[in-house]
């Protein structure tokens, strides 16, 4: 699925000056299957990008097209289908349910499509060294552990695109690399692309291309 930004300008960012290579106010394409870095400093609209491309925010001028269709025209059912099978995301604030266990948080996502088996999910957690937290409430986990749970959750569904909003902000280098490797592997197996927003350049991975805000 190709995603195109046509002169998109979120209302809160309209008063800020954006460069000629910014996706705000210009035409930008997220080409199917590509791995993209979205690099920008604070306040430039990284989370706004994630929210608008995911259909959560609609306060912008211009159009965002999924395979040529304006996302503002999608029905509730279509958005449900997109969020279950087309686009997955890791929110900057993670959006986990703190009173539910790690297992319950992951099952709440996975049960929508039964995309992964429990064993596969546990393997992903083990890869990130948090499998022993399976039955612990998410609220009791450290921010880094919660961030890893949110990343695993985003992989528990089929998708064409994975949108990651500063997904490693609470992770050390080693865990960031593990996560990045896991994300890359999942995207390759699903022939999907991802957009990773970051505060600065990320030299740990070879991205297909970089977008600016």
């Amino acid at each position: 699925m190709n995603i195109q930004f046509n002169q998109v300008m979120p209302f809160p960012l309209a008063s800020i000056s954006h460069g000629h290579d910014s996706i705000w106010g210009n035409v930008a394409k997220l080409e199917s299957g590509k791995k993209i870095l979205l690099n920008a400093s604070s306040g430039k609209g990284k989370s706004t990008f994630s929210m608008t491309v995911f259909g959560i925010r609609k306060d912008y001028d211009g159009t965002i097209l999924y395979d040529g269709r304006d996302i503002k025209t999608f029905s509730v059912d279509e958005w449900v289908e997109i969020r279950q099978r087309k686009i997955s995301t890791v929110f900057q604030d993670l959006q986990l349910f703190h009173k539910l266990t790690v297992a319950e948080n992951l099952q709440l996502k996975n049960q929508l499509t039964d995309f992964k088996t429990e064993q596969e999910i546990k393997s992903l957690l083990a890869e990130l060294e948090i499998d022993h937290k399976w039955n612990d409430p998410c609220g009791l986990l450290s921010m880094g552990q919660q961030q890893r749970v949110a990343i695993v959750r985003s992989l528990c569904q089929p998708f064409d695109w994975l949108v990651l909003d500063e997904p490693f902000s609470h992770l050390d280098e080693r865990n960031s690399l593990r996560c990045l490797s896991m994300i890359d592997a999942e995207c390759n197996s699903q022939k999907a692309g991802f957009v990773l927003t970051s505060l600065d350049d990320d030299n740990r991975f070879t991205y297909d291309y970089e977008l600016k805000l």
Partner: protein, 393 residues
């Protein structure tokens, strides 16, 4: 899991208060509707007179005896009464102006004979099918409605002859005949009992027969109206009774007592019904408010679940099913409590001599189903509104 997440902020105390309120409201609602119907039905079918109908005559006083006051009704008096807002209809009761006797004409029963008094009333006042109570010139059998007192008298007679007593059904199979006579002629005509009345002291015959017989056996006699039938509106019998008092009219006491009783009990039950409806409405509001409170405490969960790809309708369904179950439990408990109340109240009525119909009234069950449906619908609409407001898709 969804249920665990969406109902984690429940305030059980508030829920229990709302459930108790709804339970009491629904119990009183169906109980009051049931007894309102049963009290209104009380007396129906047991007799041939329509509901809220009385036969009245003028009170006998010294003035009547001295011929100062007229014992009969003028047409203008009847018209005035008809104009009262609580009166449905007023019609004269016509009587025979000739001599008439009734006797058995059946070889299987001993001969019984007695002078009687026949009357006729407008068929609209009677709870019988007009086809059964119809006579035309040339018909050989006259359908009659017999005062139950006459049957009691017949049974006393049968008992004295060592014969078995006869039931209502058997009496309707026995052949009778009228002997109509004046100074110059006498004729017999067969008659058949088609029903009984406690309200009339006389045998009731079809109006066409009365007209024919009066013209034939008393053509010159003036038809005086000494009794009239008054039909009052439902639950306004007290006003009818007040009018009778003001106009110095009297009725058979039992009719007035039953009418007064039904009127009073009906009004009381209506008040209870009104309070029940308000209680059900308020408790329903509290439950819906509880649902909205639950939703407002779950805004983050609802919003996040939809962002993860859960369909808003799935979340609506969770709330709807939960509250439908709550309402279902309330409805079932109310029905059980109502049946318990009913068993108790029926016994109380019975011990007081009021033999009201003890079957469950369909309308009270329908009221329960309606209240349940309204509650369920309100919970569905509230949940849908609250959840879709949080939907970004």
């Amino acid at each position: 899991m969804l249920r665990k997440l969406l109902f984690q902020y429940q305030d059980k105390r508030q829920l229990v208060i709302a459930v108790v309120g709804a339970f009491l409201g629904m119990t009183f609602l169906i109980t009051s509707i049931h007894y309102l119907i049963k009290v209104n039905d009380f007396g129906k079918g047991a007799d041939i007179l329509g509901p809220n109908t009385v036969i009245v005559q003028k009170k006998v006083s010294s003035f009547n005896t001295l011929n100062i006051a007229k014992p009969d009704f003028s047409l203008s008096e009847i018209e005035q009464m008809k104009k009262e807002p609580f009166i449905l209809d007023v019609e004269p009761v016509e009587s025979n102006n000739f001599n008439i006797t009734i006797e058995t004409a059946d070889p299987s029963v001993p001969r019984f004979r007695g002078d009687i008094f026949i009357q006729t009333v407008d068929p609209d006042f009677l709870d019988i099918k007009s086809n059964d109570f119809h006579w035309k010139k040339g018909d050989t059998i006259v359908p009659i409605l017999m005062p139950r007192d006459l049957l009691v008298m017949m049974n006393m007679f049968m008992g004295s002859k060592g014969m078995p007593q006869i039931s209502d059904e058997l009496a309707m199979d026995i052949h009778f005949k009228f002997a109509l006579k004046n100074d110059t002629m006498k004729e017999y005509i067969s008659c058949r009992i088609i029903g009984f009345t406690n309200d009339m002291p006389s045998v009731l015959v079809p109006q066409s027969f009365m007209n024919w017989a009066n013209n034939r056996f008393a053509p010159d006699a003036e038809q005086k109206i000494t009794q009239i039938m008054i039909s009052g509106k439902e639950n306004e019998f007290g006003l009818v009774e007040q009018m009778l008092e003001e106009r110095h009219l009297e009725s058979k006491n039992a009719q007035v007592v039953v009418g007064r009783l039904k009127s009073m009990v009906g009004t009381l039950i209506l008040v209870v019904l009104g309070i029940s409806i308000i209680a059900v409405f308020l408790s329903g509001l509290v439950l819906i408010q509880y649902l909205q409170l639950l939703l407002s405490k779950n805004l983050y969960e609802v919003r996040t679940l939809m962002r993860l790809g859960h369909h808003p309708n799935t979340l609506v369904k969770n709330f709807f099913v939960y509250f439908s179950k709550v309402f279902g439990i309330i409805g079932a408990l109310s029905l059980v409590a109502f049946i318990g109340f009913k068993l108790f109240l029926d016994k109380v009525f019975e011990s007081g001599g009021l033999y009201i119909d003890t079957n469950l009234s369909l309308l009270s069950i329908l009221a329960l189903i309606l209240a349940y449906s309204l509650f369920a619908l309100a919970s569905y609409l509230s949940a849908r509104k609250g959840i879709y407001e949080q939907n970004n898709g």
